[in-house]
């Protein structure tokens, strides 16, 4: 057996002899397994619920009786965001952002019903997901099992005796690293099994899953290297433990928590209330379609009359009220879109700030990679909101067009005073069936990989730093006095 494998084997043997180490490692592996099982179960549960609710509301919409089309605009429609397959591994911000939307005319609603708002306070402590266990707890285990790898031998004096057997510090460090990497691999096995399970699900794509797997393996390797590096660089095991715990608390606990706050401070986002107030103000300034003297809508009326070559709205071949509804929706949606894209631009700038903070912490880089590849990050949420809005606009405008084409102006104008006219202004329910259903178009796998790659590059750079520091650390170690 070579010196390297001998050193690795002895280190592993020592870990196995320590009851604390064995229990800690077993506990973590069990945690990964439990996290994997509950997360997969939760995800399929959520997917079933959302699919069932979606079918239910689709049916309710289709089964509406004869109604005036504008009543349907306000009856509205519910849509649910289907979870991507990798959400079983890393649900990302799904629990916080909400995943159901009520769509109606004249307004853009935000997504609602995130798990966090619905369930007990416990969820706020962080869900037990494989991503959480690997990102947060696995480094802690690697630290506890590895901090003494080299420092312990230095403190005990066996390091010098080892070197006197003609082993190089490089071989020694490689042996210790091999032992720690073996433990990391043991943690990775259940996690990779979850990923393989996810890969077998319908709709799962190989690219993002492979990137996720590579990312977590890199992350675990990175921590193994950091731990051995620190252990080889300090004189006492206790100092190695303190230094590593400090590094862990700052990079794994502190920075990911304060990164969003720092980003929010750097790029302030107005509150929902502030946005609503200014939006209402702009809406009022936009004009009032019910006021015959309103300049904006008076101009619109002139344009329509000219287009159809008639003098009065009553002479139009279509229902002017319907045209008015189409135009009103177009104008308000334009305004909403502007607000939404301003909001997204700010969020994109916040994300860029988070990326910058990510350079300070491999855990932040890992988190961004994991969520981006899973499609459960902010971009994934934005994609849902975009498609929801496109669907809402299309649905509302179809209903408005129905009002213009299928309801006569006379009936529409008289419907509040004349019950016969009101009856005639209702249109047949087969129109509701004809409305398209919402189908979320998931992002292309290549798109997910592309979004995750900046974080992947950052993680690789992180791997490079301690890896490059290993050689000088070995050189110093070879000449240590004790």
């Amino acid at each position: 057996m070579s010196a390297l494998t001998l050193i690795a084997r002895d280190e592993l043997w020592l870990m196995r002899r320590s009851r604390v180490s064995v229990i800690a490692a077993a506990l973590l592996i069990v945690l990964v397994v439990i996290a994997g099982i509950t997360s997969v179960a939760h995800q399929s549960n959520v997917a079933d619920t959302r699919a069932r609710l979606q079918a239910q509301v689709d049916e309710e919409f289709d089964n509406q009786p004869s109604r005036h089309p504008h009543r349907m605009v306000h009856f509205g429609h519910f849509i649910f965001r289907p979870l991507p397959p990798l959400a079983a591994f890393d649900p990302g911000i799904d629990a916080f952002t909400g995943n159901a939307m009520f769509l109606e005319g004249h307004r853009q609603n935000s997504a609602n019903f995130g798990d966090v708002r619905q369930s007990s306070i416990l969820v706020r402590f962080g869900q037990l997901t494989p991503a959480f266990v690997l990102q947060t707890l696995a480094p802690l285990l690697i630290i506890f099992l590895g901090y003494g790898a080299v420092a312990r031998e230095r403190g005990a004096g066996t390091l010098r005796q080892l070197f006197m057997q003609g082993v190089s510090a490089g071989t020694l460090i490689a042996g210790k690293l091999l032992a720690l990497a073996t433990v990391a691999a043991l943690i990775a096995i259940p996690a990779m099994s979850v990923l393989i399970f996810v890969a077998a699900q319908p709709g799962a794509a190989a690219g993002p899953i492979a990137l996720t797997a590579a990312g977590y393996l890199t992350y675990l390797a990175l921590w193994s290297i950091i731990v051995v590096l620190v252990s080889a660089s300090v004189a006492r095991p206790r100092n190695a433990l303190l230094a590593l715990l400090g590094l862990w608390s700052v990079t794994v606990i502190l920075l990911p928590r304060i990164a969003p706050d720092l980003a929010a401070t750097a790029v302030p986002q107005p509150t929902r209330l502030e946005t609503d107030l200014t939006l209402q103000r702009e809406l009022r300034a936009m004009g009032d379609s019910h006021n015959p003297d309103d300049p904006v809508f008076a101009a619109f009326k002139q344009r329509v009359l000219r287009q159809y070559g008639v003098r009065r709205v009553e002479d139009l071949p279509v229902n002017y009220k319907g045209l008015l509804a189409v135009e009103g929706e177009r104008m308000t949606s334009e305004l909403f879109d502007r607000y939404a894209s301003e909001g997204f631009a700010r969020q994109a700038r916040q994300s860029a700030t988070m990326d910058a903070i990510g350079t300070l912490s491999p855990a932040v880089a890992m988190r961004r990679l994991s969520m981006a590849a899973a499609g459960t990050d902010l971009a994934g949420h934005a994609r849902f909101l975009d498609q929801a809005e496109a669907y809402r606009y299309d649905l509302v405008q179809r209903l408005n067009r129905l009002q213009a084409d299928a309801v006569s102006f006379e009936d529409d104008a008289a419907k509040s005073s004349d019950t016969a006219a009101e009856q005639r202004s209702r249109i047949d329910p087969h129109h509701w069936h004809a409305m398209p259903d919402f189908h979320f178009a998931p992002p292309e796998p290549g798109d997910l990989v592309r979004r995750a790659s900046p974080a992947a590059v950052m993680l690789l750079l992180w791997l490079l730093v301690p890896a490059l520091l290993l050689a000088p650390a070995a050189r110093r170690l070879e000449g240590v006095r004790s």
């Binding site: 010196a3 001998l6 050193i7 005990a156 005796q161 070197f163 006197m164 003609g166």
Partner: protein
């Protein structure tokens, strides 16, 4: 390794200077040992004996001067130099979680030297370790027992240079006698031995040369001559009152 070069003496130290910060510990040390020669290095506490050994092993860089182990400079090629050295430290460090035998097997495995179980047991016996201790964890061993395990390891490494830092300090008189016999075995094998000791009698019994280290250099050297080998009284006088440089 170039054992047969003229400069390939097991140990060659020329005009060695070693500083610990501003403190000069070795100041122009000259010391060479031939194959099969036993050299006893004596000196007061803090004279720089252990530092000399550390410099030979490449754990302390020389400020100036030369150290060669079989022609190799331990400062620039520590791994290569260390392969030619067996070392018995002043404070023996062993793996507490391993038995005596496992410790030996592990260290020999690291140096890629193969020894049979019989050879290992023979070395334990030669070092005077009682048989019931071979397969016991060293965690319960006394200082002398640890010393014997480390001596066995030094014996099992067939190397040109053996460094011993106070090898008899934890040994009872019988074990000390046994140990002195072992040195004879090393001499016959052709290994050069550098032994740091405070035990003048043992040194006089076993060493081919005895050097006194003071103020960072060898201030006096005696060579064994005739049937009485040394004038022990004179040595003792010297040892008790080393000259100031």
């Amino acid at each position: 390794m170039t054992y047969h070069e003229p400069s390939g003496l097991p140990l060659l130290i020329a005009n060695l200077v070693v500083d610990y910060g501003a403190h000069r510990v070795l100041n122009g040390l000259d010391l060479s040992i031939r194959p099969g020669e036993i050299y006893a290095l004596l000196g007061g506490n803090g004279a720089g004996k252990s530092t000399t050994l550390a410099a030979i092993m490449g754990f302390v860089p020389p400020a100036s001067g030369e150290v060669r182990v079989c022609g190799v400079a331990p400062g620039s090629a520590p791994v290569q130099a260390r392969r030619a050295i067996a070392y018995l430290p002043e404070n023996v460090a062993l793996y507490e979680h391993l038995t005596a035998r496992e410790n030996i097997q592990y260290f020999l495995g690291i140096s890629s030297e193969r020894r049979t179980n019989a050879e290992i047991e023979a070395a334990f016996n030669a070092a005077g370790l009682q048989e019931d201790a071979f397969n016991r964890r060293v965690a319960g061993f006394s200082k002398g027992m640890r010393q014997k395990v480390a001596i066995a390891l030094a014996l099992l490494r067939h190397v040109p240079l053996v460094l011993l830092d106070e090898p008899t300090s934890g040994l009872d008189p019988r074990a000390t006698q046994d140990f002195n016999r072992l040195l004879g075995g090393l001499r016959e094998r052709g290994s050069a031995v550098l032994m740091v000791t405070h035990d003048l009698l043992s040194a006089a019994d076993t060493a081919d040369r005895i050097g006194f280290l003071d103020a960072g250099r060898i201030v006096q050297e005696s060579v064994a001559e005739g049937p009485d080998r040394y004038d022990v009284r004179a040595l003792h006088r010297h040892f008790a009152r080393p000259v100031a440089a």
